[in-house]
């Protein structure tokens, strides 16, 4: 990471911070705002990723899908979900310059959840983000791919991580 400019690290950390704060507040429009118009989001198990199986838990491969993810969470499934509070803990592990203001960034993450009315706290999932960030008029995700070691989810997952 030594050749990466401090302001690049700062921008990527800031983008990640906006992202996890949006999710922990369940502000899905702020979540969407972290993505570039060419951005994609994937949530996939490490088992599938390692074995080359393409099935994901969430596969938003274009911006319209990201918009529909917001609709799914805030409108379509709002009343049937047993809602839960998340806390995302992240750790930047590497940044690589891909050229053209693009950077490959990796974070480790763990997400805790506290289910409303149950109130005990458990681990929702643990994994890594494999990101491609564009730094141009601010930073945005061209790709945020969450690969989770937690191959068996402890409950259904109502929101992205």
């Amino acid at each position: 990471m030594s050749e990466i400019e401090p302001n690049v690290i700062f921008s990527i950390e800031n983008l990640n911070r906006d992202y996890i704060c949006a999710l922990d507040k369940l502000d899905m429009n702020k979540w969407l705002a972290c993505f570039n118009k060419q951005g994609t989001y994937t949530l996939i198990s490490n088992e599938n990723e390692t074995n080359g199986f393409p099935i994901a838990f969430m596969l938003d491969d274009k911006y319209e899908r990201l918009q529909d993810r917001v609709t799914q969470v805030t409108v379509i499934q709002e009343d049937s979900t047993e809602h839960y509070q998340t806390r995302h803990m992240t750790q930047l592990t590497s940044i690589e310059n891909l050229g053209n203001n693009r950077y490959q960034a990796n974070f480790n993450f763990s997400v805790f959840y506290t289910q409303n009315l149950v109130e005990t706290t458990e681990i929702l999932c643990v994994g890594r983000y494999e990101d491609i960030v564009l730094i141009e008029n601010g930073a945005s995700f061209l790709q945020r791919k969450a690969v989770i070691d937690t191959n068996v989810l402890p409950r259904y997952m109502a929101y992205p991580v």
């Binding site: 198990s45 599938n48 074995n51 099935i55 409108v75 499934q77 049937s80 409950r155 109502a158």
Partner: protein, 396 residues
Amino acid sequence: MSQTPDNRATLEWPAKYNEVPKEVFERADLWPIELEKIFYGEEWHPVVHQSEIPNIGDYKASDLGEIPIFAVRGEDNKIRIFQNSCTHRGTTLVTESLGNKTEFECPYHRWLFSPEGELVGCPNSREFTPDFDKKNFSLPTFRTEEFCGLYFITMSDTVAPLKEYLGEDFYEPLSRILGGDGRLKFAGYQKVHYDCNWKAYCDNDGYHAPLLHLAFKMLNWQGGKGVQNVTENGHLSFESELKIPDDITALEDASILDFKGTETSTGSIVQMQFPLTVYSKHMDMLNIRYAFPKGPKGIEVHYAYFTHEDDDDEMIAHRIRQSSNLLGPCGLISMEDASIFSRIDKGNKTPGMAIFQKGVKDEYQLDLQVGQNDESGNLPRWEHYRKLMGFKRAES
């Protein structure tokens, strides 16, 4: 809690066929009997589709009840299903859920098994019992049958052959979920734990679909004409036309709901095989839901998705996209099912009966003729369960 004279747990079943005692979902003492009478009894259980382990030496580990098992493709290209336990002292032979091995070695005393299950090596065997013979220490297997590439096992010597057990009304639609000819390619799993008794997981019905799943309403998606077939031994099979409106305004990208279809994939099919496997084909998604009870509380569900060998790249991409976003524990049209499982589980701690209404014409008679959106189709499976468990029905 009540017990029979031989100290076996029991409960009294109500006289009305549309009532199920809520305690049946909650009582931990029923689990050992369910293992013996259902999971180790006169039922067939799917374990693996051939496309999940396509190469020689590929294996998949899972469980039958509480018995660890694994399926492996041998050097002869045949798939066999074994107990996952060394024939010496019982150590498990595989610890990963999927993998590839040319031989299976127990780390404890280095006993070595071939992918065909034969014991091929055991150190210091000259010092074993005088009549020791490796041939007597092959890995125990199961009575196994294959249907469209899907392998089923049973611990029963007496249950009917698989197709007879499933019945034509069940296996014919199943063959279409399995691509018509079983020439599927495996695309991946979604695995999840649901916080409910296994019987709550598989008690979903035809009544709920248009009511629980708001996505259907929001997408202006009217259910097409269809049928529900039920069998006396508790299998259910739903089939309906797909009527997806041309103009879906609730979504920015309605292509996720495209139904491209093939000649073998008319409509929407959902099947529930007793005791707890679900097969489905909605739009272009081909799905098997293997399910594994974790004792009396909790169930792990492995949603397995497939493409077909004849698919072009566009169809593969479409199936992957649809499967990853619509079904499963995060899916646009199915996540609500998961929320119901745990809510049912909590709610069933209240006393009394769960009462089925939709489609019930006579509370004191079991009816195998049910409509597409009736919940009465679940009652034959409850009757089958009651009989297997040996619970007495009260006099009417």
